[in-house]
């Protein structure tokens, strides 16, 4: 079932007993805070924190790391670089591949106390169709998020970077599933509002942004060939095993606010806002700009309970109000 929500009316806070619940694409969520894909491994966290994780599960819905058709080992280390108020990651989307994800991880993820959103990525409409068909067939999956920050095998350009290309791909894959289909836009584009419109025209039920900004770092001088040596320097100096990566965290929050604002004013489908959210007031800013849900990513690295703290804070504000 698909539901359309106009952004003009701010996210509805319906008091349900003591909890603040929210409607999103036909799903009823306990609060507006979810995780950014790839920033929280619920299965690993369960091993580390045990039963307490479920007792105070931070997210109103759980978004999986990006799943691809084939398994991926990910990039060689180093995969991380800390920047001023931010983090570059060059993880390289390691995952078990569709088959093993469905067989091994889905059962465990189905045990989570919240709805499951599976994030998938493909390099062509064909690949994406296979991924969507497979997810559509699994009742454990409540919604699907499409990570379109992936080079199109045909054009070489990220599928999500061009409005026309994105709309075409969406038209091609939309029929594969009746489940809510969220498009995770790429921020590395000239006009994110136009891309958002393309996704909506192509049949997206919701949009999420922002993904990480393309970024890189050079190795600390101590760790590389002396400056002035004749060897090609950039090669010598790259820090990340993957060469480049994506920037996240507080450093990108101001960009996220601008892109979420640009998108929310262009489309009528709900928007999931993210990018550098650390506090209740950061989440509230995104909601104020028209986001229906807010995702917490990098901040969970600094504190796995960060999203719980934020959700609880929003709940307090809402109940104080209501």
């Amino acid at each position: 079932m698909r539901m359309r929500e106009r952004r003009r009316e701010p996210a509805i806070y319906a008091k349900r007993g003591d909890s603040v619940s929210i409607e999103f694409c036909g799903l009823t969520l306990a609060h507006p805070i979810i995780n950014g894909s790839g920033t929280f491994d619920a299965i690993a966290a369960q091993r580390v924190f045990g039963a307490q994780l479920h007792e105070r599960f931070p997210f109103a819905a759980y978004v999986s790391k990006t799943i691809t058709l084939e398994p991926r080992a990910g990039n060689p280390p180093p995969r991380l670089w800390e920047t001023p108020a931010g983090l570059i990651n060059s993880i390289g989307l390691p995952n078990k591949g569709l088959e093993r994800y469905l067989a091994e991880d889905l059962p465990a993820l189905a045990e989570l106390p919240v709805p499951l959103i599976t994030n998938v990525m493909g390099a062509s409409a064909e690949e994406l169709s296979i991924l969507l068909d497979a997810c559509d067939a699994r009742a454990e999956i409540a919604a699907i998020e499409l990570n379109v920050s992936c080079p199109n095998v045909k054009t070489g350009l990220d599928i999500g970077a061009d409005p026309v290309q994105l709309e075409e791909v969406m038209r091609a894959v939309r029929p594969c599933t009746g489940k809510p289909l969220i498009v995770k836009l790429t921020p590395n584009t000239a006009d994110v509002g136009a891309c958002a419109l393309g996704a909506e025209r192509g049949g997206a039920d919701a949009l999420s942004l922002i993904n990480t900004l393309r970024a890189t770092a050079l190795a600390p001088r101590a760790r590389r060939a002396p400056v002035g040596d004749s060897a090609p320097r950039d090669a010598a100096a790259a820090w990340l095993g993957g060469g480049t990566g994506g920037l996240s965290g507080p450093a990108i929050r101001a960009v996220a606010l601008a892109q979420v604002a640009a998108v929310a004013t262009r489309v009528t489908i709900p928007v999931i806002g993210m990018g550098g959210v650390q506090s209740v007031s950061h989440a509230q800013d995104l909601l104020d700009l028209g986001a229906t849900l807010v995702a917490v990513g990098t901040e969970s690295f600094r504190d796995p309970a960060a999203a719980a703290r934020i959700a609880e804070g929003l709940h307090e504000m809402a109940t104080r109000r209501g």
């Binding site: 920033t39 690993a44 991380l80 969970s300 796995p304």
Partner: protein
């Protein structure tokens, strides 16, 4: 692997004592230490950030918390051994009694004791530089015959050997103990007692040396690895090292302590600050 409380917790510094080139940071942590504590395994670690003045300045770092081995438990106090190698460790070295810090842990997989090797076999604890930290709590825990071999760059660092009992020391500059590498001491020990088992932590080059020696002699060895970490609990997939059988393991959840047999070699990034 003992569970960590969910979410970082605000703790108070009880002391921060100089130990040669290092500092021993003492933190009051009833949830992790003491009778009612989760009592971490030797080899487990915590993610730590100062509550005040974390980041900013010319470098605008640190932003993320930093990983530190649990070096010792004393009553409700947890001890960490610090070496100032950058903005985060520098800030933690500044902390004084009464200052507060954020701690998440205990995290990771520690040394496996009653594991593959029968308990009566002698334990060789091999450490290098600040990497000696987890060997202290390991020595406190092991109730069997252990030999401690530690390597340091210089005299100031060698003073860190006081963290353990009866340590045999090697130094790169010959200022203290054996003039040379701790792996040379290890080779000699294994000559004497080929049945010993090895627990090691230190710089990548040292760990690789230990790995190679133990592989060659088929000596069981557990290596406490390091890696740049963002989260410490398996969320970011950033802390990987290559597995022998292909693919990567996450140092924070599959380690930091791994069986040497799992690795083809110890990556240059997988060790403690040299």
């Amino acid at each position: 692997m003992s569970e960590a409380p969910f979410g970082r917790r605000l703790l108070e510094v009880t002391g921060n004592d100089e130990l040669g080139a290092y500092r021993v940071l003492r933190v009051l942590d009833p949830q992790m230490c003491g009778p009612r504590g989760a009592t971490p395994e030797p080899g487990q670690f915590a993610m730590i950030a100062a509550a005040e003045h974390w980041g900013g300045g010319e470098q605008q770092r640190p932003y993320l918390p930093r990983a530190f081995s649990i070096a010792r438990l004393a009553g409700e106090e947890c001890h960490f051994l610090l070496e100032d190698v950058g903005p985060g460790t520098r800030r933690l070295c500044e902390l004084r009694a009464g200052d507060r810090l954020w701690v998440l842990g205990p995290l990771g997989r520690g040394f496996q004791l009653g594991g593959r090797e029968p308990d009566q076999r002698r334990a060789l604890l091999v450490g290098g530089g600040v990497g000696i930290a987890p060997l202290a709590i390991l020595q406190d825990t092991l109730d069997r015959d252990t030999t401690v071999l530690l390597g340091f760059r210089d005299r100031a660092r060698a003073a860190g050997a006081a963290l353990l009992r009866d340590a045999h020391v090697a130094s790169d500059d010959g200022s203290v103990g054996h003039h040379g590498l701790v792996t040379e001491l290890l080779a000699a020990e294994l000559e004497r007692d080929p049945h010993a088992v090895v627990y090691a932590c230190g710089p990548a080059a040292m760990l690789e040396g230990v790995r190679a020696i133990c592989e060659q002699r088929a000596t069981p060895a557990q290596l406490a690895l390091e890696a740049g970490m963002a989260c410490g609990f398996g969320a970011c997939f950033g802390c990987v090292v290559a597995r022998r059988d292909g693919g990567y393991l996450r140092v924070c959840v599959d380690g930091p302590v791994v069986d040497a047999a799992e690795l083809e070699h110890v990556d240059a990034h997988a060790g403690a600050p040299a």
